[in-house]
């Protein structure tokens, strides 16, 4: 018997004596409770995943100190004490590097010196700066997930978008910023969208699996961009290494506050999150896209075009990844090299998973990853613990988020027996 489920709610005619009594709360309350409960449940696993990652990270810090075992043999108590102290120092430095030093804030504001206040805000600015491309790539991957597509190619789309944006950035001259910057941004979007179009159309026309095609197109993009960077007219004059000309200042994202690196790219990222949310949940095309993602045969039955949705989703996804590229080349480096992304496109996958493909969640997840990135260098210089610890922490967060059953098991969270596991993307093994 396939479809048989436990009874959901008492029927209206059921006599009270016969009906089993599920939840007895009146309906409106039940709905509010369900919504609140849903939100809490949605946050529970990510929050616990982060917590667990930091706990395991603490062990990594302790065990990576080679003198620890030596001292453990001599004076276990003192050794454990120093170890714990070391963890505290490391995480403290990480936090200060990501969010700033409370005493620095107090001193700066007390001093009334503008420069000092700005200096106090540098860590926050760096966190925002690091989070900006991650919001875009998280949105890119999430949009694909919503249509049942696993876009592993955000990295390649980011590179192509950045290359296009850089070209408009240096080739177009003499424009005011409010014309030039949008042009460059649009070029970045189109570049990424074009790179996303390829797996989209291949999937729609031939059924080629987007995972394979996007992985391969990442390599193609690296090498294509490497080629373009050496191209006369694109390569910076007088340089033999692959680096582009410097873009015009009119194509740069203006800083949010003069003197800090955080820029309007972050605001664009927030707007993009809002736009993606509106598109997915309020527009007819988004409705089609999600219907195809959840149940393609039913979408076809309802008269929607699976091919059109697939192509559209891949193009929008690629375009968002392209915007991530603009946030780097127009916001940080101001020129294009082959080293502009330390894997933003792949971090986007983790962020989309952690946020369960919800745009609002992506902002928070990206800020978390941005904070870890921003805090890693100050931590390294303050404590000598390698900044790679942050990579370990990110990997642990991803691992725990990807295995919700593990988190639920550790913290003994009861999960309804009837609920299935979340399916982000279909197509594996199909």
């Amino acid at each position: 018997m396939t479809g048989e489920r436990p009874p959901e709610q008492p029927a209206t005619e059921a006599t009270p004596a016969n009906a089993p009594a599920p939840a007895e709360t009146p309906r409106p309350t039940r709905r509010v409770m369900a919504m609140l409960g849903g939100a809490a449940r949605g946050l529970l696993v990510p929050v616990l995943a982060v917590l667990s990652a930091f706990v395991i990270g603490a062990f990594v810090i302790v065990l990576s100190d080679l003198t620890f075992f030596e001292r453990l043999g001599q004076d276990p108590g003192a050794a454990l004490g120093t170890a714990l102290g070391g963890v505290g120092t490391a995480y403290g430095a990480l936090l200060r590097g990501a969010l700033g030093d409370p005493t620095a804030y107090v001193d700066a504001i007390a001093s009334g010196d503008v420069e000092q206040v700005k200096a106090a805000f540098v860590p926050i600015s760096e966190t925002i700066l690091a989070a900006t491309p991650l919001i875009f790539t998280g949105l890119a991957v999430a949009l694909g997930f919503q249509c049942g597509l696993f876009n592993i190619g955000a990295e390649g789309q980011l590179f192509v978008g950045a290359t296009a944006a850089t070209f408009v950035g240096f080739a177009v001259t003499g424009m005011p910023w409010f014309v030039h910057l949008p042009l460059a941004i649009i070029a970045g979007f189109i570049g990424g969208a074009a790179w996303g179009f390829i797996p989209g159309i291949l999937k729609a026309r031939t059924g080629a699996h987007e995972v394979i095609v996007t992985i391969m197109l990442n390599y193609t993009a690296y090498n294509l961009v490497g080629f373009i960077l050496k191209f006369p007219g694109y390569q910076r004059e007088g340089r033999s290494d692959p680096i582009s000309k410097v873009t015009e200042a009119s194509a740069w994202y203006p800083p949010l506050i003069e003197g800090l690196r955080a820029n309007w790219g972050f605001v664009l990222a927030l707007l993009a999150a809002f736009a993606v949310s509106w598109f997915l949940f309020r527009s007819t095309k988004g409705f089609e896209l999600r219907a195809v993602g959840f149940n393609a045969p039913a979408a076809r039955y309802a008269g929607m075009s699976i091919a059109a949705s697939t192509v559209l989703a891949m193009m929008l996804s690629g375009g968002l990844a392209g915007l991530a590229g603009t946030s780097v080349v127009l916001g940080i480096t101001h020129s294009m090299t082959s080293g502009i992304s330390p894997g933003f496109g792949f971090d986007g996958i983790a962020i989309a998973l952690m946020a369960r493909s919800r745009p609002r969640g992506i902002i928070f997840a990206a800020l978390l990853f941005g904070a870890l990135r921003a805090g890693s260098t100050p931590m390294e210089s303050a404590t000598g613990i390698p900044g790679d610890l942050v990579v370990v922490l990110q990997a642990l967060v991803i691992m725990f988020v990807a295995a919700p059953a593990l988190v639920r098991g550790i913290y003994r969270i009861r999960v309804p027996e009837t609920t299935g596991t979340e399916v982000f993307s279909k197509g594996w093994g199909s």
Partner: protein
């Protein structure tokens, strides 16, 4: 084996699937478990088979309490289960499937002892008239024979108690009768059988005792001698049920759907619909009867634009529609698809979203590219009330509703707009008596509004109850069109099985007049 369930209670979060359920299955008894979908039948047998652990209550076998942690424990206690969806390896032979998991080996190398297994299978099948070729590959076997393989599998494991989960859902009427013969033979050899169904005729035909479940509780235990179809139906549903569809004679108008010389291939490229002709008029219900797999699915898919025909014409109101789902829909065709979870709705979407699954792009539900969520919610609230869809709110995920309510969402969506042609495939498959009654009334209502209605069903009762004309489909063609006035289950069953119309009529006429139930 004497099986006793005492006070079984199984809870799921927010629901009690079984509450204090007790029943006794005597040795050699055929015990029917009757109930609507969602009544808790499957949960109960899953508890019995060790797939679920009950919160309260105990299972006793021959008056000894037992605990099953997994199906292995249940099998060891000689309980066998035939699931509705067969658990067979298609590329293995019957023998290999039967011995899978209890392989007997011989020789120092531990080679499979197929000959020994084969001998036992032949012995079992001869004892209970379970005709099956032990060397046949399972994927080549028809559904009815696969079911026999499943039964042999349980007997091979020396089951004394057999649980059959909706065994007749996939069978033709003739195959039903063969299954009942097998069940009687097993009973005679002392095997107890728990038989799950929601079909009333079957219960009365085969059971020794009937336990009726409703909303997780036992509402009563009775015997076929004391019960009638009506009494069982009202026990299941909790109110009296109209088993006969009330309808006036059809007043057919002009032709709406005309199909001529239609040829359609199935997914594997075989010809499934082979030169089919069919006309459906406004204001009449034509029911296509046939055993599953005779081209009905492909016929419906061709009419609704989901599958491209190889040749032939399909016209709606005299015009040939370019066959794509949206064009067909805009030509005034409503379609209740065969597989509601696969095609009919989007689990993960809310009830409201599913109610606009094919109208979302048109006013009033959209304004340009923007969805009008207010209009969608208002319409959904109204449809939920009008079509008696039981859901906590229109925002609930349709995947969490019962099958009957999912089907009502689809029916509400397809029936709530003016249509010229209604195509409904298996509109009540797997539904309970209450929902069936409701959906049948809605279909007749649609006919009376002047729509042409094409029903495809493998349920004989449904065909006989609804049809103004019965088109029997066999191997891709309509072999005969029968007036329901002179149709009997025997006649339709013979035609469905491939007998030539003249032969079938002679045979049906010669057969003793049946109980005639369902021929409303």
């Amino acid at each position: 084996m004497r099986l006793e369930l005492r006070g079984i209670t199984k809870r799921f979060p927010g629901v009690i699937a079984n509450q204090n359920v007790s029943l006794v299955v005597e040795p050699g008894e055929i015990h029917a478990l009757l109930g609507e979908n969602g009544a808790g039948k499957t949960t109960l047998v899953n508890v019995l088979y060790g797939l679920y652990q009950p919160e309260e209550g105990e299972i006793r076998i021959d008056d000894q309490p037992v605990t099953f942690h997994d199906p292995g424990d249940a099998i060891a206690a000689h309980i066998g289960m035939v699931h509705q969806h067969f658990m067979l390896v298609p590329v293995f032979t019957v023998t290999e499937n039967v011995m899978l998991g209890v392989e007997s080996v011989r020789g120092p190398l531990g080679l499979l002892d197929r000959p020994a297994a084969r001998r036992r299978i032949i012995e079992i099948s001869e004892r209970h008239n379970l005709r099956v070729d032990p060397d046949a590959v399972v994927e080549d076997l028809p559904v009815g024979v696969r079911q026999r393989v499943e039964i042999i599998k349980t007997l091979y494991r020396q089951s004394d108690l057999l649980v059959l989960d909706e065994p007749t859902a996939v069978l033709t009427p003739q195959e039903d009768e063969e299954l009942f013969e097998i069940m009687r033979s097993l009973q005679a050899s002392g095997t107890s059988i728990v038989f799950i169904t929601h079909k009333l005729n079957e219960v009365l035909a085969i059971a020794d005792r009937i336990t009726v479940l409703r909303r997780g509780r036992v509402v009563g235990t009775t015997t076929p001698a004391e019960a009638t179809r009506e009494s069982l139906a009202s026990m299941m549903v909790g109110r009296s049920v109209d088993l006969i569809v009330d309808k006036t004679p059809a007043k057919p108008g002009g032709p709406v759907l005309e199909v001529a010389g239609l040829v359609v291939r199935d997914d594997r490229g075989h010809v499934a619909v082979n030169g089919l002709d069919l006309t459906v008029h406004a204001g009449e219900i034509v029911a296509v009867a046939g055993v599953q797999g005779n081209g009905q699915t492909e016929l419906v898919e061709a009419i609704t634009g989901l599958r491209h025909p190889v040749s032939g014409t399909i016209t709606i109101d005299g015009t040939a529609v370019h066959l794509a789902p949206r064009n067909v829909f805009e030509a005034g065709v409503a379609h209740v698809p065969e597989d509601r979870l696969e095609d009919g709705c989007v689990p993960g979407f809310s009830v409201a979203d599913n109610l606009v699954l094919n109208t979302y792009y048109r006013p009033p539900f959209s304004k340009g590219i923007r969805l009008d969520l207010g209009a969608i919610e208002r319409s959904a609230t109204e449809l939920v009330a009008n079509f008696d869809i039981r859901t906590p709110s229109v925002f609930n995920d349709i995947g969490n509703l019962s099958g009957g309510n999912q089907q009502k969402v689809i029916v509400a969506r397809e029936f709530s707009r003016p249509v010229r042609l209604l195509v409904a495939a298996q509109p009540t498959r797997g539904l309970d008596v209450g929902s069936i009654e409701y959906i049948h009334r809605r279909i007749v209502l649609k006919r009376d509004e002047g729509a042409a209605v094409l029903i495809v069903s493998t349920e004989l009762d449904e065909v006989l109850a609804l049809a103004d004309r019965i088109a029997v489909m066999y191997q891709g063609r309509i072999v005969d069109i029968v007036d329901p006035e002179r149709a009997t289950p025997e006649l339709i069953g013979l035609l469905m099985g491939g007998s030539a119309p003249s032969v079938a009529e002679a045979a049906a006429a010669a057969a003793p007049a049946a109980d005639g139930e369902g021929a409303g």
